[in-house]
Every structure is written in C-alpha cells, then in structure tokens.
Amino acid sequence: MNNRVGIIGIGCTGFKPVTPDVSYRELIFEAAKKAYDEAGLHPKEIDSFISATEDFMEGYSIADEYVPDQLGAVLKSVHTVAADFLQALGVGYMMIKTGQFKTIAIEAHSKASNIETLDDVKTFGLDPVYIRPLKESADFIAGLEMRRFLERTGNTEEQCAEVVVKNRKNAMNNPYAGHGADLTVDDVMNSHPISTPLKHLDKAQSSDGAVVCVIAAEDVAKSLSKNPIWIDGIMWYSDNANVWSRCMSEATYIKLAAKKAYEMAKIANPLKDTQFAEVCDEYSYKELQHLEALGIARRGEAGYLTQNGFTALKGDYPVNPSGGSLGTGHSFEASGGMKVFNSVLQLRGQAGKIQIKNANRCIVQIYRGVPTATGAVAVLSNE
C-alpha cells in the first residue's frame, strides 16, 4: 500500500488571548513560513491550498478573498471551507486521494480578539426564526445540552470541573497555550453561572493564533520528510441541523464520525490502538460527552475516569495533554489546527514537558460549537 497521506510540515504561532502586535496577515504568514520551512517547500511548489474560516469571525462579508497572499498562494488553486481546520484537513486528504494533487497546505486562524461584539456574532448563528428572537446568550444552548447530558448519563458537574482543572494544568507546561492555570474543582464550581449548569470556568475563553499544515501523498511525504505523521483515518459528520431535533445526551455526530474514521484506520478498540487523544473541550462537559462518543469511555463513565486520573497527563490514557481549548484558548476554526499541531509534536516526540511516552497513534476530534452539531475525528500515527 502506497497511498497514504502524511503531514510533512506544520507551523503554529501559539495561542494567546490577544495578539495586538500583528495583523491577521502577519499572524498567518508566521505560521505558514514555519510550516513550509519544515516541509522544505516553497509555496509555489505546493499544488493546492485550503483555508478554514467563517465570514463574521473575520469581519469580512467574503472572507475567503483575503486568504492567498500571506500563504504565498497568489494565482494558485486555493479554496475555503466554512468549517474547522480538521475538516479542511479531511478535504485535503480527499484531494490527495483523487490522485490529482501531491501536496496541499491547510490554514486556519483566529483573531477573535478583534471582534468587539463576539457575543452578538455568536447569537447571529442561531436560527433566525425559532431561537434568535428569544434574545438569550447563545451559550444557553450549551446549558440545555449539558443539563440533559449530565442527567441522562450520571456524569456530574464536579466531574466536568475536573476536566477544567486537568486541562488548564496541562496547558501550564505547553508553551503554545495561553490559558494555563492551577485551579481547584472548587474554583470551577464556585465560578459564576453562565447558563446552569454551565459556569464561567467550564467555558474556554477565546484566543488568537494561526496554524498552517502541509500534507503530501505517501511517496512525496517519504522523500521530503524524515518523520511524516500519517493520517490513518479522518471523517466529519453533522447531526440534525435543528437544535430541537437532536439527542442532547450524546454527541451523535462524533459517534458517526468516529465509526468511519476508525474503519479507515482499522481501529477496533481506540483505547488499545491509540495512546492519547485531543478532543474538543470548548465546554468542559463536551470533553466527557466526546470521550463517550469516541468509545474511549463507556456511556456515563467519562466523568468517573477523569476524576480518577485516567485521562490525566500521567494517566493511562491522556486526554488533551496540550491543555485543550480550555487551556489553550478557544480558537474557533483554528481549534482543530491547535489539536493537530500538538498531536504532531507528541507523535514526533517534540512535545517537551508534556511529552507522552511511546505515543505512536492518537485521536484528534473537534466540534464546531453552538449551535452546531458538526464534528470531525481523525486518527494520526507516526509509523
């Protein structure tokens, strides 16, 4: 078999609450330059480019216009997906699989700090007829879902708080993370409610940063890179578009996506066949919900496992060793990029203080945030 797809270069600016010294162009250029240097390619030599972005996050009504220059992709085949970086990676994977493309660069970034009215933007994503007229914070959708999820699975608010404590602590040792902190479960439990049972510290704060990644067909990857990271499986799924029509006690979109991604990667048991996972923790309960959907925890057991250190950095199966979105900061479409970047470092053995021993294979998973029910799962390996 010689038709795998490998990551041969990845660049990341790191994630910080604000980045006032650089424009979005300058931010992206930095990540792109690092990625291309690592891949040993000039952008002129790259076949195609994909960016993952949403208009209102950029403040442009046609945001894809502003993609090419800082990627060195002027007069190249470039397109945009209104999706997370991980989905864009999936599209890149697809493109290489067509046989028409050998190398592809994928970009995502966040300049969330530049949005003065971020709450308004998020509300603007709600259904204009059936939800938005209620004029509530978009986070109340997460509150509804968290309540149902905890109630039906038996996971607890304290266990969600354990996720926050773990992830923000992991982030303290990740130089690319901007929200590291040493918290206690009580700190989280006592933080002000946003929309019960969701509290302030249960929610990832936003951050700025950019990630660019270069992928290549197997033959090219092997010739250009000493340590390519392979995409063994990748798939994205959406649940029902309507908030009111979803099962809130599980992440159906991840169940579906994981099934396909595992099939592609020939994974029978994710706990045995992979050594760690980077999962979406935009809200603390989402990490637990996603662990159950990924089959890493049985239904109702994710909280218990977290509480008992199973998913800690030194635990049996570390989850979000990077610090996740809670520890790194929520970077919107770049969230998947942050996770892929940190996973690549782990699989190459370059993760420094947060390095996991004998990590050969991992799961990366994202979710697009409220009010969506869209997510993606990828399996990456170094062998």
């Binding site: 650089v22 424009s23 220059d69 800082q70 060195g72 002027v74 530049n114 308004d120 603007f124 204009p128």
Partner: protein
C-alpha cells in the same frame, strides 16, 4: 429528463408585506489589529506621507506595505517613502453611494479610481477618489496628486487624503478643466 416545472414561486413586493417576518439588526463591530505594516502605513498618512515596503529579492516596492512578499514568500526588507502623486489606471463615475442609494440629481458624482502611485512598483495601485475635476475631463493615464486634509484633522486613515486631483502643469491634464 427535461426541466420544465420548477419549485418556488416568489413574492411580489405587495405579497411580501402580507407574509410573516421577523427582523434583526446585528451589531457586528470590530477592531482590527493593524500590525507592523499597516500600522506604519497609517501613521505615515497622519504625517502626510505615503510609505511602501520593498522586497529586495524581487525588487517590488509594495503598496499597501506588507511585512512579507507574497510572491517570494519571505520577509520584506525595508521601508521606502513614495510620492503622493500618481497616474489614473482606471476610474468610474458613480451615481450611487455604498448602499446603492442614488446620489441626488444635480449633486456631483463620486469618482473612484485606481491610482498607480509614483515611486512604487509598476502597477502598484491603490483605490481612492478623484476630485476637483469634471468627469468628462478624466482620462486613463492622467497625472494626479493627493489633496491632504489639514494636518490637525488627520487621524491616521486613508481618508487623510481627501482625494486626488489632476496635476495642472502635466501635459496630459486637460486644459479645459474648470476650477
């Protein structure tokens, strides 16, 4: 298969009044970090100057300035002032405002133009306005110069240039131009 009947009827402007609707005025405000290149560009506007960035590899003198050369894909090398004069590359005579509202008859049109700035690389144009000129007198290739706001009114924005006006002594300037 031949497509003959298609769904969706559409509403007339009267019918739309009768159906149920809801409205929303989103408050979408931003503060974009200028970064190094645009930060300096705007700061120089405040001083009444236009500044470009140079890539020593390809030799392009770039407007608006950027810290990277998008073609060579490397950091640009240095700052360089360019003139506040240029050449009209193309122009339009607009009878509409940005929101498609019509400019009332009798009022002067807005004249947007792409102006290639003297001293910048070939073809390096910026979008700006022409003023102090009758539309029929404008020609592609015409030499123009920036008309700046008074110094104390400048705020570090491209609007610190009010518009570009024809250079009188230029051979290409039309002698019929009215004051």
């Amino acid at each position: 298969m031949e497509i003959k009947n298609v769904p969706v009827k559409g509403l007339s402007s009267k019918e739309i009044e009768k159906v149920l609707k809801t409205s929303w005025d989103p408050d979408l405000r931003y503060r974009w970090d200028n970064g190094k290149a645009i930060g300096r560009y705007l700061a120089e506007f405040k001083k009444g100057k236009i500044i470009a960035r140079v890539c020593d590899k390809c030799g392009r003198i770039m407007l608006p300035p950027r810290m990277f050369c998008e073609l060579c894909f490397r950091p640009t090398d240095r700052w360089q002032y360019v003139k506040d004069t240029g050449v009209v590359n193309t122009f339009a005579v607009s009878r509409v405002y940005w929101n498609a509202q019509r400019i009332p008859p009798g009022e002067k049109p807005i004249i947007p133009a792409v102006i290639e700035i003297d001293g910048a690389g070939k073809g390096m144009g910026i979008l700006h306005l022409l003023g102090n000129v009758e539309p029929e007198d404008i020609k592609i290739g015409m030499k123009v110069r920036a008309v700046w706001k008074p110094e104390n009114e400048r705020e570090g924005s491209i609007t610190d240039i009010l518009y570009f006006e024809p250079i009188k002594d230029s051979k290409k300037a039309n002698p019929k131009r009215k004051k």
